[in-house]
């Protein structure tokens, strides 16, 4: 049976592409959850601690985008 467009999870190409897609998904989930936390009153420092990174790192990664979205967070 030839199904060139159907996922065959036994194929390493599909599973490795799944890893790539998971990394992109993790970025998207991080964007959404950081925004949600700030909207709920979390400070950048709290978000940074929760993600296990420095406040500077999380601020650098998200501040511009969230400022555009109207979410600046406390502790600026």
């Amino acid at each position: 049976m030839i199904q060139t467009t159907t996922v065959t999870p036994d194929d390493p190409a599909d599973r490795l592409a799944g890893v790539v897609a998971l990394r992109r998904l993790a970025d998207r989930v991080e964007d959404a959850e950081v925004e949600r936390a700030l909207r709920e009153g979390w400070t950048w420092s709290m978000v940074a601690d929760a993600l296990g990174v420095t406040r500077q790192a999380v601020h650098k990664k998200h501040a511009k985008r969230l400022a555009q979205a109207g979410t600046s967070g406390r502790g600026e």
């Binding site: 998971l22 992109r24 998207r28 990664k61």
Partner: protein, 161 residues
């Protein structure tokens, strides 16, 4: 590598590819963003070929979405489990130039210099992108039902004109 690009092509396509990456919320500029940039300009022969093949910009975005959905399914994950609204949010972060994009450019430059051509056209770029046999681009083309090898053949014919 970039200096081998014709200045107009370099400015237009690379800048457009950065915009594509940022618009899709990607932290990296990948081969698929170069392809989106080529597809977004039907004023070029390469862009027209993509549109004629059913891969206009929006068609390509849809194919990439389908590729993501299938790849996540292969590792047992469904996008719908995450409650993410709609499309990825655009980022303001400048994307880093990823390996898949570097390799696409390297193949394009190799193609042009192998033919003794001093400048790199969008068609060279398209062929260089399409010649990647493994990764997101070939998977998205397959998801869209596009025959990648046949498309490369049609793109290579454009080089003869």
């Amino acid at each position: 590598m970039f200096e081998r690009l014709e200045p107009d092509t370099r400015r237009a396509v690379i800048r457009a590819a950065y915009d594509e990456a940022q618009g899709l919320g990607s932290s990296t500029l990948e081969a698929e963003h170069l392809l989106l940039a080529v597809a977004a300009d039907p004023g070029t022969a390469a862009g027209r070929l993509l549109v004629e093949s059913g891969l206009d910009h929006d068609g390509l975005v849809a194919a990439l979405d389908l590729e993501t959905e299938r790849s996540l399914a292969a590792v047992g994950v469904a996008l719908s489990d995450f409650g993410l609204a709609g499309r990825p949010v655009a980022t303001r972060r400048k994307a880093g130039f990823a390996t898949s994009a570097k390799q696409s450019l390297a193949r394009s430059v190799g193609l042009a210099s192998g033919r003794g051509e001093r400048t790199l056209s969008p068609v060279h770029l398209l062929v260089g992108i399409l010649r990647g046999e493994i990764g997101t681009v070939p998977r998205a083309l397959a998801a869209a039902g596009v025959d990648r090898v046949e498309l490369i053949g049609r793109a290579e014919l454009l080089l003869e004109r």
